[in-house]
Structure formats: structure tokens, C-alpha cells
């Protein structure tokens, strides 16, 4: 009994002693950020399509082509040192940089580059469409993508596409170059290392994945031999902190260097803190409302035009969206090549009413607005609801989790939907293909990944222009075609495009060099210093 008493006493003493102040600062060689990382479901670049993993793999893998943190506007070679485009524009030959090495120490070979793309096509996971649109299938990909020697990779497309677009697509996450030798050591039942790569890494980028504990932590370790030199930090840690208030406390206390998910209120509250700086990064995420064209009233062009005149864009951007979103009314995000920056719509209730009169619905009508449960969607929906009411449109708001909302959207079971969209890769075709191009509007066609199809909207002029821009070889003409297409959709499309996200990131002032580009996977840690 005495022994038990002594043990209890020792435990109690240790417990009391344990109530000690927390460490006040993160280590000098470690970049710690607080972020909600619950969206991570895989680390395999052939499958990654989530925000958090998009940025993580951008730091682990070098891609064939890349946008680098030093100049986010210019597409440059990643593992490709140079490239040649054939006269017909259908074959591109990449020369691979010499002397590159994977984290494993294996050399980066042309064979790895070809195999990485072939693997994406053969696994056919969600983002595979970015490359399969070029006509690559599991059956033909070994012939159409091949290493011609130790340092050259040749890709041939079978569909009509501008080579500029193909090169842009080679900067997407699916064009990450994977260490074939290492991955194949972990292959099981012909899965091309799929199960293993879900929670491991095999890249040649600035960082290597050391640990991923779901809903807890991701640890990256610097690659000292990276081709641009060793990263500024030896380690990057993403801590799962789902609650924004807790993120703020951790940041103000110095237990993390950066908080990624603060709300506008918290950003405002933290502004006076001398140790903290707030940075804004324009992102490609758009917030839009879409009308189901199969709806007997919403399908009329005058009605959607009226909706565009009813929304109070500036009112929302200046109040509860407070700097986290800016007004943007075209399908390609501002700041990117080919973006239309014009904002022709402002709140004009009289004009909206006259358009509704012309459509025969001057007395108003009743609709449902479906949207997501997370902020700011319910708030935007409420504002839109009030706006619509002024023209006699009576709307009910239904908020749903994404997993419940998307099946409805994909089945065309909505009236109005308020949702978000961000580009899959940095080329206007990425969004044009979703918003403007619907080659088969039949229900049984099930083009469920295409927004125009989901909204039962198809327009021959829009389809034609989208395809023309996609195939155009001349860069100047191509840009003009995308500008025209955006203007066209602003007038005739089923969308009320409202806002573009401006990501607000709060950091400790001693931390510098964090870069967040327009696309979700253009976030770089390698220049971070303290």
C-alpha cells in the first residue's frame, strides 16, 4: 500500500510540476503554420485535388513546367530545361535538366517524367482529366508519351489543342515528376504504388514529406540539394487547428508563425498587434450563383440578366466580406493572363424589374437558393435573398454540406445555386471548359464535371468560341478570344459571377518570404526565412 501511495504522490508531483508555461516561440529553423488540414485525403500527385494537399505537393514535387515563386506570372521549365514544339503543334519534346536528383538520391531521368504522366492516365483519378483531355488513354499513353533517350521526353496529343495550353497543363499537380524506382518498390497488385504514395512522397522538390498524421500534423523536411539551393527553413510544419479563434491565440502567443484560416473579424482584431502582419493574396477562387436553365422561369435569358442587376456586389464586398473577397464578374480570375477585369454590373433594381416584366414575371416568383453551410456562403445567400425580394422574387435558402449539395448540383436538382469554383491549372481553358463549353446538354450525357451542363445550359456560339480559343496557336488571338468569351457569358450565361477570393494570411513579423499565387497549388515555402 505504501508503494502505491508513493507512486500516486510521485504522479501528483509530476503533474503539478507539469503545469508550466508553454514555449513562447517556434524554433528558428522551423516554419510552423496553423491551418485546418482536415481536407487532406491523399498525398499522391496523381490524385491530389484538395486545397491543402495541392500546396503541399507543390513543395514536394518539381513539375515538368512550373510557375516559380520569384515570378508567378511566367511559365518556365521545371524539370524540363527546354522544349520544342513540332510544326503541327501536336508533339512537344522536353529536354530534362541534367544532374537533378530525387530525395531518395535516385537521378531524375526522362523515363521518370514519362512514367509519371503515364501513371496519371492509367490510374485515372479525378485530376487525370487535365491530361486525358489531350486524347491520352490507358491503351495509347505508352505510345504517345515516351522517353526517346536518357534526357528527352516526347508527348504527342491526338486532339486539337493550343501548345500553349498543353504547356500550361504541364504545370498542374498531375505533371509532378515521381521517382519511378522508389515508387515501384512499393507497388502492390499492379497498383503503380498508389496505396503507398497516398501517405508517402517520392519527389525532387524543395521539401520531402516526413510525416502526415491525419487531422493532426504534416511535417516537411528541407531538401538541402534542391536545384534552387537549400530552402530557408529546415522544417515546415502544418498543424491542424480547425478553430480559427485558437489559430489566432497560437499566432499571437508565438506558438505558430502563421495562421491560415482567420475570419474577417479576427483579422480586424489582430491588426493592432505589433508582432503580427497581415498579407493579402488574390486567389483564383470565384464565388458565383448559377441558375438552372431547365427551370421554366430561370431558363429565360432576361431573368438571369435581371438577377445580375439585383445583386449588391459592392455592399457585400464592403461589409461582411471585408477584404476577403473582391468584386469580380468574369469566369477567369483577375490578375491572370486572359482575365477580363470589367465589372459591368451594379445593383439596379429598376432595370431588373423591367427585365422581369419583359420576361412576363413582373409579379415575381418563388425559387430556392442552395448553398454551402460554411462561411461566407450563408451570409451571401441571405444578402442575395434580400436583394431578390426587392424585385418580388421570393427565395428560400437551403444550406447543405458539400457532400450533400454536390450530388444535387450534379443531378441538376437545383433552382439557384451559390457555390465556388477555382481553376484546375493556370490556363483560361480550365474555367472556359467548365463555364462555357457544353457539347452535349442531354441529361443522359452526364457531363457532371461541367458547370454549363449542370445548369442545363448550352449555347452554340459559346461552345464554338471556347473550342476556337482552346485550339488557337497565336497567343495574342487566343487571349482576345477568351476576353470575348467572358464578355459573352457575362451577358448570356446562366451565371451571376460575384467575387474573387483574396486570401488573408496572418504571420509573425519576423517571418518573411511566404508566397501564395493565384491558383490553389501555387503556394511556396522555400523562400521563407526568419
Amino acid at each position: 500500500m505504501n508503494k502505491i501511495k508513493r507512486l500516486l504522490l510521485a504522479f501528483t508531483a509530476a503533474t503539478v510540476l507539469g503545469i508550466s508555461p508553454s514555449h513562447a516561440a517556434t524554433p528558428d529553423d522551423t516554419f510552423v503554420m496553423a491551418k485546418d488540414i482536415a481536407d487532406i485525403i491523399t498525398m499522391d500527385p496523381a490524385e491530389v485535388f484538395e486545397l491543402t494537399t495541392g500546396e503541399i505537393i507543390a513543395n514536394i514535387y518539381d513539375r515538368i513546367m512550373m510557375f516559380e515563386p520569384e515570378d508567378l506570372q511566367t511559365l518556365v521549365g521545371g524539370v524540363a530545361e527546354s522544349w520544342d514544339v513540332s510544326e503541327d503543334g501536336k508533339t512537344i519534346t522536353f529536354k530534362i535538366r541534367p544532374g537533378l536528383k530525387f530525395h531518395s538520391g535516385n537521378p531524375v531521368r526522362a523515363e521518370d517524367v514519362a512514367w509519371s504522366l503515364q501513371r496519371v492516365v492509367k490510374l485515372n483519378k479525378t485530376p487525370a482529366f487535365i491530361v486525358t483531355q489531350f486524347g491520352w488513354t490507358a491503351d495509347n499513353v505508352d505510345d504517345l508519351i515516351k522517353a526517346t533517350d536518357d534526357t528527352h521526353v516526347q508527348i504527342t496529343i491526338t486532339e486539337e489543342f493550343s501548345p500553349g495550353l498543353v504547356l500550361n497543363a504541364m504545370s498542374a499537380g498531375v505533371a509532378s515528376v515521381v521517382d519511378k524506382e522508389l515508387v515501384m518498390q512499393h507497388e502492390k497488385d499492379g497498383d503503380l504504388g498508389y496505396e503507398w504514395l497516398k501517405s508517402n512522397s517520392a519527389g525532387s522538390g524543395a521539401f520531402e514529406l516526413k510525416a502526415w498524421k491525419a487531422n493532426e500534423i504534416v511535417t516537411l523536411e528541407a531538401n538541402a540539394d534542391y536545384r534552387h539551393g537549400a530552402p530557408g527553413m529546415k522544417r515546415v510544419i502544418l498543424r491542424h487547428v480547425p478553430e480559427p479563434s485558437a489559430q489566432r491565440l497560437l499566432l499571437e502567443k508565438g506558438d505558430v508563425d502563421m495562421a491560415r484560416n482567420l475570419t474577417p473579424d479576427q483579422i480586424k482584431g489582430i491588426e493592432g498587434n505589433a508582432d503580427v502582419a497581415i498579407d493579402g493574396y488574390p486567389k483564383g477562387t470565384l464565388v458565383y450563383m448559377a441558375a438552372n436553365a431547365a427551370h421554366p422561369i430561370l431558363g429565360k435569358p432576361e431573368v438571369t440578366q435581371a438577377l445580375r442587376h439585383l445583386v449588391d456586389y459592392e455592399g457585400m464586398a464592403d461589409s461582411f466580406l471585408a477584404g476577403q473577397f473582391v468584386v469580380h464578374q468574369a469566369f477567369w480570375p483577375g490578375g491572370l493572363w486572359g482575365a477580363l477585369e470589367e465589372t459591368p454590373y451594379a445593383r439596379d433594381v429598376d432595370k431588373a424589374k423591367s427585365l422581369l416584366d419583359a420576361a412576363g414575371h413582373g409579379e415575381g416568383f418563388k425559387v430556392t437558393i442552395h448553398t454551402l453551410t460554411n462561411s461566407p456562403f450563408p451570409e451571401i445567400a441571405q444578402s442575395v435573398q434580400a436583394n431578390l425580394a426587392q424585385a418580388g422574387i421570393d427565395s428560400d435558402i437551403v444550406t447543405l454540406e458539400g457532400k450533400t449539395l454536390w450530388p444535387k448540383y450534379r443531378a441538376r436538382e437545383h433552382d439557384l445555386i451559390l457555390a465556388r469554383w477555382s481553376p484546375d491549372y493556370v490556363d483560361p481553358h480550365s474555367n472556359a471548359d467548365a463555364f462555357a463549353h457544353n457539347p452535349d446538354n442531354r441529361l443522359e450525357a452526364k457531363l457532371t464535371g461541367v458547370l454549363a451542363w449542370r445548369n442545363a445550359w448550352a449555347d452554340s456560339a459559346s461552345n464554338e468560341l471556347a473550342v476556337m480559343a482552346r485550339n488557337e496557336l497565336d497567343l495574342g488571338k487566343r487571349e482576345q478570344q477568351y476576353l470575348d468569351l467572358q464578355r459573352m457569358l457575362q451577358k448570356t450565361g446562366p451565371y451571376v459571377i460575384m467575387f474573387q477570393q483574396n486570401e488573408q494570411v496572418a504571420r509573425r513579423k519576423n517571418l518573411e518570404g511566404f508566397v501564395s499565387g493565384s491558383n490553389f497549388d501555387l503556394v511556396f515555402y522555400r523562400n521563407v526565412t526568419k
Binding site: 507539469g18 485525403i41 482529366f129 484546375d424
Partner: protein, 354 residues
Amino acid sequence: MAESTASGQQTARPSLASPSIITNVLGVVASLALTFIGLTAITFVIGRVMPADPVLAIVGDRAGQDVYDQVYRELGLDKPIYVQYLRYLGQLADGDLGTSIMTAQPVMEDILRFFPATLELATIATLLGIFVGVPMGVLAAVNQGRWPDHIVRIVGLFGYSAPVFWLGMVALLIFYAKLDWVAGPGRLDVFYDGVIDPVTGVILIDAALARDWDIFNNAVSHLILPASILGTFTLAYIARMTRSFMLDQLSQEYVLTARVKGASERVVIWRHAFRNVLVQLITIIGLTYASLLEGSVLTETVFAWPGIGQYITNSLFNNDMNAVLGGTIVVGVCFVGINMLSDLLYRLVDPRVR
């Protein structure tokens, strides 16, 4: 083998292989099997009829129909629901809970990682509830209507009605951000993560086994706030129930008799009255502990505590049914296990059920 009864008669003690013990064991096993089949069947059916789409949880909302259909088939969703369920049971019989969509890991591994975090939190919170809540309840009962009773009732009301979410944030603000007495959200400071090998998954125990007292202290510093917040609720509930049970017993005639016979107040309260509330208290404490082992989602969210509550909730939101079913089984095991433990404790404290 035989033993004497109080009346001196000899009764046969059942041997280990006697039919009655075998029947009892078989009965318990059958009832456990039925409980788990019922539990998994209901959860499985609810998961399948929910409007959320498990395929979209994997492929994302932008996937084309071909990718969607491929994963739909891979998950076996093209089969009738009873076939899906029977397959799941077959898998379960092999000890395989499947793979989680969210974490890409076997559900069993996830549970072994997340459950100890909740176990650690729930155990400390329950101990706090027992060692503070029970004396508070007794104190309130024996001082009914006087100031100790009022204080306990106010504390109880506060602990029971204050939202855990709010309480957690306020506590973090005061004790972590302002006073710097304790560590912030998370189970450990980041630089301690992965330093010791997990043996039990309960960091306090693992750190003690590794004799790494820095990590032990850091873990305590992280644990103290969420455990106290959760403990406040437990304490309030247990104190309230103890007070109520004690008041009932203190009004019984046997208490009056004991007092008339000259027993001291300490003996009357603790030896006579309190003993009689123990059975009810064990039930209350058992149920409270079991419900805490389900995980307290709000506390886990505020304190970034990677526990089973957050795991099951995130799984539900993502319709990650393998994870939900795995979590449900864990919760079921907790309830059944704690019920059995409570039964054993009844026998210890109440001679009538021996």
C-alpha cells in the same frame, strides 16, 4: 468444492465447466454479438440512405462521370445494400475495419491513434468529476439550504449550462494567452511531436515509460485545460446527482436510527448514507465516462485535440462510412465494457447483488 451459507447449509459452488456458467457465458456472448450486429446494421443502413455521397468524398465534386462510376463500383455501391453489409461483416470477422477515405489509413490504425487521445482526456475529466464532484455533492446534501449548498448548486448550474465551446475559448484566453500558465491547443508542442515512440498512444504513459519528463510535463501542460473544461461539466453533473441521491438517503429512517444510536455524523454520512448511493453513483459515473469516451467534439475542436469525437464527426461529414462504422464499434465496446465493469462494481459495493 463447497462452502457454508449463513444458515450453515452446504451449497455446491459451480465448477468452471458447469452447465450454468457455460450457459451464462454463451448468453453474454450471444447478447454481445446481437448488440454489435444491430449497431453495425443500423449505422450501415443510415450511412447508405443518407443523401451525402460517399463517392464524391473520394473523387471530389469536379470528377467526370467515368471516374465517378469507377469509384462507385470499387466501393461496391452497385451491389444491393444487404450484400454490401454482409461483405462488411465478413471483413469485420477477419479483423479488418476497412480503410478510411479521409486519412487513407486502415481504420483500425486510425482508431489506435485517435482513441488514446480521447481516453486520456476523458479519464482525467472523469477523475476530476469523481474526486471533486462527489464530495461537493455530499457537502451540499448535508448542508441543504445553507451557503455550501447554494455554492455547489451555482457551480453545478454553471458547469452544466455554460457552453463547452465558449468555456474552452475563455479558458484558453485567460490561462494560455494572458497568464501563460498552461500550453495552448494540441497534445504536445510541435517540436516534441514524434520524439517518443507511441506504445499505448496515451502520451502521459508513453512519456513516463520513456522517462522523458520534459515531454510528460509538456503533455500535462497541454492536457490540463481541456481536461478541466470537460471535467467541469462532469463535475457539475456528478455533484448534482450525488446531492440528489444523498438527500434521498439522508431522509430515510435508518439514518435517523443511526443518529439516535449515537453514531457520529461522519459515520452516518459516509458509512451509512453514502454507501447506499454508491450503486446509483456508479451507474451515473459509468455512463458519463462512456459518453466522454465517445469524444467531446467541441472540446476537441477548440483545443485541436485529435480525438475520436473529431474523427467520427469529420467522417460523418465526409460520409466516410468505414471510419464511421469503426468509430461506432469503438463507442459500442466502450458502453458494453463500462456496463460490465459497473456490474462488477455493483457486486463489490452492494451485498444484495453478490
